[in-house]
Structures are given as C-alpha cells and as structure tokens.
C-alpha cells in the first residue's frame, strides 16, 4: 500500500499529539515526589537520585520537545546559512590552488 505525503503528515501529527500527552503524563505522574521536593526512593541509590535531579532545565515539562525543535533550527541555520557560505568553494578548488 502506497501512502501519499498528506497521509504521512497526518500520521506524524497524531504521533506528535500522542507523544506530547504521554510526555506530560509521565512528567507529572511517574515521579511526583521529585516535583514536590521529596527524597528519591532509596532502592535507586544515590547516583540514580542525582541523575533524576540533573540540571534544573531538565525538569521543565516537554523540555526535550522545545530543545529538539529550537536546537534543530539553530544547528541547521548555523551550519547551512552561517558557516557554509564562508567556507564553500568550487569542486576544483584544490586543483586550482
């Protein structure tokens, strides 16, 4: 069965919605004690506790989504629009120089 690009994009939007809901659900439901400032379960040990704490920005809901989108835009813009025009040369550059 061949799928056209519109159907692919519909599927993609559904996936986006599902993952956002799942992300929010996991964020607020899986470890509520972390958000309330409680101690991590002892069974995980100190290292796991530290990992769960991590950097403050990792606790922002849907941080991964924002970071991936903004980071992707910045990276592509930096590479293709910022750096490439400065360093691009013709394919025969090294033959000529």
């Amino acid at each position: 069965m061949e799928l056209d690009s519109r159907t692919w994009f519909k599927l993609y939007y559904i996936c986006l919605a599902v993952i956002v809901i799942a992300g929010l659900a996991v964020h607020f439901m899986e470890a509520p004690e972390m958000h309330e400032g409680a101690e991590a379960p002892e069974a995980h040990g100190e290292a796991a506790h530290e990992a769960e704490e991590g950097f403050w920005w990792l606790h922002i809901p849907l941080f991964a989504a924002f970071f991936a989108f903004i980071g992707g835009l910045l990276l592509l813009a930096l590479a293709k629009l910022g750096i490439f025009p400065l360093i691009k040369r013709g394919e025969d550059y090294y033959e000529k120089h």
Binding site: G45, A65, A68, F84, R89, G90
Partner: protein, 622 residues
Amino acid sequence: MATWIHPGFIYLFGALLIPVLRGKIRQAYMLFLPLAALTDLIFTARGAFGALPIETWHIPFLGYELLLGHIDNLSLFFAFLFVIVSFCMFLYALHVKEEWQHVSAFLYIGSTLGVVFAGDLFTLLFFWEVMAWASLFLIWYRKTDAAWKAGFRYIMVHSVGGVCLFAGVVLQLRATGSIAWGFETLHQGTSASYLMLTAFFINGAVPPLHAWLSDAYPEATVTGTVFLNAFTTKSAIYVLLRGFTGYEPLMLLGGIMAVYGIIYALIVNDVRRVLSYHIISQGGYMVAGIGIGTGLAVGGAIAHALCYTMCKTLLFMAASAVLATTGTIKLSDLGGLYKYMPRTFWFYMIGAFSISGLPFFSVFVSKPLVIESAVLADQPLVWLLLEAASIGTFLCLAVKIPYLTWLEREKPTNIQAKDPPVNMLLGMGILSVLCIAVAVYPQTMYHMIAPAVEELASEPLTFEHYIAHPYALSRVIELTMFFLFAFPAFWLLREPFTHRDAKIALDLDWFYRVTGKWVIWFCEKPLMAFASLIDRNVLKLAAFFVWVSRNPANALRIKGAETRLKLQKLISTSERARSYESGLERVQIRFPGELPRFGLGASMLLVLLFLAAYVLLYLLGV
C-alpha cells in the same frame, strides 16, 4: 590446556593464501577466516585458555619481552566487535575481483586485532604502523587521481602519528625502563604521554587532527570505505580507554568533536564524506565518555563503540551500494532512488534510526549513557554539545540524506539505479538484524562490558544502576519526543538544502593541502635555484683549486697576468693590450708547464710553516 591462537594472526597469515585461490573457493575462504577468529574468541571467552586476564605469546626481542596476547575483558570485547563486523564486511565485499584489495583488508583487520591484544608498547607500535600502511591500499585501489593524492596525504598524516607514538614509546622507555603498556604504567602529564596522546588523537580523528579522515575515506574503493570506517578510529578509542580513562580534558574535547563533525556532515555534498564527518562526531561521544571516566560514561563509551560501529558500517554499506550502482554519491546528482533501490533504502533507514538512537535501535542503548553521565558529572556544556550533536545526527542521517537521496524529486535520467548484488544485501541484512537485536536485548552486551567498566572506571555502580532499566518509560518517551520535534526544524529550513550545491567545504586540511603546495613550489623553484647556484659555484671553486694545484707558481703567475691585462685594457692602447693578451695565451696553453724546483731549505720552510699553522689552530681550539 590448549594454546591460544592470536585471532589477528588468523587474518594476517590467512591473507597470504587469498591471491592463490580463485572463484567460490576464495569466497568461502574469505568467510571462513572471520568465522575461525570468532570461534577462537568464543573459546577464549569461555575460559578454554584460562581465566581472564591472560598474558600469553611472549616473544624475546632486544632484551625485552614482547607480549602479543594481553587478553582481558576490554580487549576481548573489542576483538569480538571487530571480528563480527569484519564477517559482514567480507560478505559485502565478496564480489570484488581484485584479490590484493582483500589482502589489504585482511592485513588491516589483523593488525587492528594486533593493537587490541598488544600487551607492550613495541607490539602496539608495530601493529599501529601495519594498520596505517595496510589501510592505505584500500584507498589507492580506487585508482583515481583523487584517491592517489588523498592516499598520499593519508599516509603522510599517519606517518606523523607513527613518529609521535615512536617518540612517546622511546621517552616512556627512557623514563621507566619498561615497555609495559596500560593505564597503570602511562603517567599522564609526561612528555611521553602527550606524544602518545597526539598519535591516538590522529588515529581517533580528534579535531584539529581529524582532516585526514574526511579527506581520504570518501576517496577509497566502494568496499574499502566500509572497511576503513570501523577499525582505525575505534582502535584509537580502545587505546584511549586503556591509557587515558578519566583524563578530564577529553570531556570537552569530545563535546567539541561531536558538534564539529555534525556541522560539517550537515553541509557537505558527498554522502560518503557526510558519513566520514559523522565518524568524527560520534567519536566525540566516546572521547567525552572516556574523559568523564565514571562507570556510566566508560560503559557508554564501550557500548557506543559496538552499537555505533555496527550501524555506521551499515550506513557506509548502503552509501557504497548507491555509488556502486549509480556511479555517483553526490547529493547534487542523486534523488528519487527509493523506487529503484527499495531494499537498500530500508537497510539505510535501519542504520539511520540506529545511529540517531531511536528506541529499539542500537544506539539507544549506548549514547544516552554518555549523555546522562555528563549530567551526573555536572558538565552542562558537555551535555549541551552532545545533545546538539544528537539532534544534528538525526537531522542529517535520518532526514536530510534519505530525503535528498531517496525520496525527493524524480531520479535523474543520467543515472542507472537498482539494488546491489545479493552478497551486499546479505551483509547489510545481517548488520540490520544485529542493530535491532542489540537494542532489543542489550543485557548480553552490558554483561560483557560490566567487568571492563569495573577495571577501568571510577564509580562503576552508576553503570549497573543504568543497565538495570535501559528502557525506562520516561527515557523512551523523552527520546521519541526529541526526534519527532527535531523533524519540523528540517522541514522549515529544507529550502537551502534542496538547492544541492555542488560545492566543497574547506576544512583544516586546507593548511597542508594549499600550504603544502606552496612548500613544494618553494622547494622546487627558489630553493632549487639557490641550491644549483651554490652547486655551480662550489664546483667552479673545486675546479679552480684542482687547476691551481697542478702548478701553483704558474697558476699564480697566470692569475696575476690576467689581472694586469684587465688593467692594461683600461689604461693603455688596444694594440699593446692585444700583444699582452697573446703573451698570456701562450703561457696559459703551456700550463701547467715545468714545476718549480724547491731546494731542501725551502721545502723545510714550507713544512715548518704548515706545522706551525696546525699547532696554532690546535691551540686556539678551532
């Protein structure tokens, strides 16, 4: 107890028979050798030659004892990786007719295994050099002018690396009197360790010593690149693990490496060059992990070496299949290949999803370990760089390359495209299965890594905590979200990428490619002109002394007469000068003439004069 056989020697000596074998027998033999090495490793792991660590194959050399077989958990893990991957590679390259290309590949892999099992610095140095020279022929066998030049630059850079390693070994030997090799013996901060580190950085393609990789690998043969991608850089990671675990500067260097490689991968036009730059980027994760040095980081670096090597090899195989069938691998020339090469496309996508680290694909069970270890070690900048490179990897390999190569626009009419021969598909197929299998059931890999982590890393417990739940729900959702939201970034900015600039991007190899030409010009033109000038004048001077020595008295007379003639020409009439000149010519023709006769007294005087001069010079200390 049975005697251990070095798996590297199975490759090295096995290669000797390849040129004499033909057809199916040669093909079967090429697959037999990796399988024999794999069997050897399985027996070793099962304790057939004793409990690990084992030290065997001692060879006396110049008063030292070489140790060719230092087998511990780390070396065994890397050996398994290299042997398994090499089997898939030889399956992929089975159709290649040039037997010497296969010989090069076998020597290359054999010497890599030599590096892995080296228990002393001399052995390491020897196999390090063999590795560089054997791999060179995988580039030169492309038989193009670009390949010839790139190969030449490749071996020049690796020779510099070899010299650094040699100098490091000599200094280490002078300082300690020992050729032992390992973390315990290599004291960080010494000149010896810096020189060795430089050599390891060159092979590991750590910026700014990386440019040889993106310069040479894309110019290698169709199957040569597939071999090259896996061994040189990963053996460098192995030696860094062995000698520099916990060396803090590697943390940030790894992060920079990851971003540097991915930025170039996003902009270059040649797909194999994209993948080559991406080797540098992924090497960054392992280097950062080694620098962080905790159990989680070191475990992640080792796991990443396996997961990433498998999927990167798969990607190179798919890219080389495109090159083999279409004759080009430039994005500016490709497009719409999906209809014509669907199997290759799906194998490529498995490799791309794996290397991006999507859940249930191999790198998902390795790369997050290093990134989370940066969080645990409280290294926000390293974390940021590694995460940025993760986004770039997905956008570059799982979005940009498939879009521009396989999906966007119709296939250009001037290229032919179809799926490659069955052996190439099989090679890709096996690696695809492995990429998924290792992700679905990572515990086997983790259990193999755990003892090595315990030997090398600080805080080994962090690794054990992680591997208990690699598929934590929050991690799966977070990473899926990460990739789903990265995609629209490309979609919004796709316009500049679809222009398909047939341009190259300058890199640091500019310094030795362009300035190298200047140096060659300087040597060929002004320096050679100066040298020939000096040469001519020295010869003239020597000839003059020879001439004078034939009759010094007459020679002095002639020279005096020549000077007088010049003066005559200036001050007297031309007739007088002409008669003087003819007189001089007669004297010159008669030269050397009769030698002057000295009496005994004059001779004694001369001898005494020379003796006095000698004594004077001696006393002055000249």
